[in-house]
């Protein structure tokens, strides 16, 4: 609720509610720094202490303290009944989670990476996403599937895919993609409290990154609304949408573009399903140009959906074709130089924004 009010008050200041911290990046003296890892850990900790029906299940979440240390300390606090180490059986434990959710518990199922969720995808889609519909509202599934998504560094083709588009195409699922620590805390708490299945796509490379957080974010009742995007940087000339790690790249690109006289507006999508079409369209109606950025494969990706949405609703406002930046249309290579070419870099976003503004640019990497 606080988050919704804050969105509406964007750009204005209201004495009672402090505006989003990242807009006040220059006023960092008051804000504390928190890594995304600690944000997720604290969110899990608070939700588990608030509601005994919440439990965590996954590989290495207990004694190993989490494959990426997200669940550090939780086993000692809550015991092995509520922080369950599982054998390597994704289909099995995802199914068990769904069954537990049917009967009123609130499982948080961790996939070591979302690549492994493909072994359980039958349960995510067929058992979790479709149940409320098939049972006409009798069986709701308050489950959260979370874990790192997308490319890491040098981990090869089978560990680097982005699943945002896959899960976001399925009705019955909510798909969230946090970027900063504030996003991580607020969205994870919202996801755990939500009565529907939520796919929570984190990013391994963001876990160690620190972001400033306000006291409001650190409050244990802090929650962000599902389905609202956040405008990280207000601009006038071109809209850049991004999610997860690409938001960082987009913000850096915006700084570079500013030197060239292009004032970019950066939208952190936060929620891929439901997609915040009204924020995106309102922004495009203001700037008239759009660049979508994502890490995943281009075909049928998130950018494709945003482009279609903008064409459907704001066609007359577009002054240039929509530019889509996505990962290369190949399985992720291992060699470091090839991997850099396969994932969007800041220069790619800068070039696309310039193309959208009809500036002459050197030819982009052959796609």
């Amino acid at each position: 609720m606080l988050g919704v009010v804050r969105q509406k008050m964007l750009g204005q200041s209201l004495p009672k509610i402090r505006p989003a911290v990242s807009v006040l990046r220059s006023y960092s003296s008051a804000a504390k720094q928190m890594t995304v890892r600690d944000a997720l850990n604290s969110a899990l900790d608070e939700e588990m202490s608030a509601d005994p029906k919440v439990f965590l299940m996954g590989e290495e979440v207990g004694e190993y303290q989490g494959a990426y240390k997200i669940s550090k300390g939780l086993l000692e606090k809550y015991g092995p009944e509520r922080v369950r180490d599982t054998p390597i059986t994704e289909a099995g434990f995802a199914g068990i989670g769904v069954g537990a959710a049917y009967y009123g518990l609130k499982p948080v199922v961790e996939f070591m990476t979302f690549n492994f969720s493909m072994q359980a995808i039958d349960h995510i889609i067929n058992s979790a996403a479709k149940s409320n519909y098939m049972s006409a509202g009798q069986m709701s599934v308050p489950i959260v599937f979370r874990g790192p998504n997308g490319a890491a560094a040098g981990v090869g083709a089978q560990h680097s895919q982005c699943y945002a588009a896959w899960y976001a195409s399925c009705p019955g699922l909510k798909v969230l993609t946090p970027y900063s620590s504030e996003d991580a805390r607020g969205l994870l708490k919202a996801a755990i409290r939500d009565p529907d299945p939520v796919v929570f796509l984190e990013n391994e490379l963001l876990y160690g990154e620190s972001f400033p957080v306000s006291d409001e974010v650190l409050d244990s009742s802090f929650c962000l609304p599902i389905g609202k995007a956040k405008i990280e940087r207000v601009g006038r000339d071109v809209t850049i949408t991004a999610f997860s790690r690409m938001v960082g790249h987009a913000l850096k690109a915006a700084e570079i573009l500013e030197k060239d006289g292009i004032d970019a507006e950066v939208i952190n999508l936060r929620s891929i399903r439901p997609l915040d079409r009204s924020t995106i369209n309102a922004s495009v109606r203001k700037t008239n140009r759009l660049v979508t950025v994502e890490e995943g494969f281009p075909q049928h990706g998130v950018g494709a959906e945003i482009c279609a949405s903008v064409v459907e609703e704001s066609f007359a406002y577009l002054d240039a074709p929509v530019e889509r930046i996505a990962g290369a249309d190949i399985p992720m290579p291992y060699a470091a130089n090839l991997e850099r070419l396969a994932v969007p870099q800041v220069e790619d976003i800068v070039r696309a924004a310039k193309r959208a503004c009809y500036r002459s640019v050197p030819l982009a990497a052959a796609a």
Binding site: E59, I88, G154, H159, A335
Partner: protein, 432 residues
Amino acid sequence: MATAFSAAKFTAQPFPLNPASTTSHDSSIVFAKPTSLFLGSTRKLRLTSYSKFNLSRRSGTVDAVSDVVKQKKSKSSPSLLITKEEGLELYEDLVLGRAFEDMCAQMYYRGKMFGFVHLYNGQEAVSTGFIKLLKQQDSVVSTYRDHVHALSKGVPARAVMSELFGKTTGCCRGQGGSMHMFSREHNVLGGFAFIGEGIPVATGAAFTSKYKREVLKEADCDHVTLAFFGDGTCNNGQFFECLNMAALWKLPIVFVVENNLWAIGMSHLRATSDPHIYKKGPAFGMPGIHVDGMDVLKVREVAKEAIGRARRGEGPTLVECETYRFRGHSLADPDELRDPAEKAHYAARDPITALKKYLIENSLASEAELKTIEKKIDEVVEDAVEFADESPVPARSQLLENVFADPKGFGIGPDGRYRCEDPKFTEGTAHV
């Protein structure tokens, strides 16, 4: 423990694999010599009594002790298991595996290698014991811990090291990486990052071998496939599905379980209802054998029988090798959960030291000869690193290659040629 006891009854009966033939019974071997402290860390979990059960019951699984092996055990003076040449070959392969993996660790900490690297230190006896018995056309399917499987199978150390450095001269041109070692020439079918993923693939390779022989009538096709995987995989559904089908269709495959007791930080005992993996074989109609995976000669004897069975068309075998990895799960694993006493226990059973002792005590080789081998391997590994260092990174144009076998993705036309090469195909509105 109740469950253990009732299970004992099952496994004690010889499972009628093929009631008509008796040969299959005799060819199953037991190495009933109990290895002490198999479940080293069980003390912490208070299952010491379980391990005592273990020792006496293990012999119950298997049907008979091969005469050959009985003979060998009864004599104190050697009736040796290997010849000198074989011994030196095995020693060289073990040392290559160890030296290569140690070099990988060094290179990783120097930043030449990156991502996920899983090292095989300590488990070399399993790879050498099995793979050195294979022909070139036999296939090996492995997991992410696949460097040494590739090396044992014959992939040159240079190619593997280059692949790890991400260079274009690697066995997969730098596109696969540590976890995805493939070699068509040496029939190494990967290299899979997902555990359990390789097992159906291996079963398919074995299926092809049988198919070639029976349907395509290539009468001499007796290729065998080995599937290597760990204890964690044995809880995964794909494992059971493949045990079933391999036994059902009598496929020429050996399922080799490298039971190193740990799946990252998850102890085998915490994850598995019945930790005796070899018992899962008879449940599906194939022999299940347990062997000391730290002793390359024992592994080799079991492997001979299992591979022989497969080659003769008698069907699959499940072999559980009790082994241990000396390093953590991967180079990023701090390895805090394993008991140092357990690590020390297995370090004392290092397969390389054991084979060295055997060779010297039985006068098969001298210290000097073994030193020469070690020196040679050091040079091979150094050369591999130099080669990898000097190799170029992949060209930018390589980024988009190899996505399809068909270069432009339009498929193969009725005349057997790539459609995109047919000028007629690109007439009209099609834009290539």
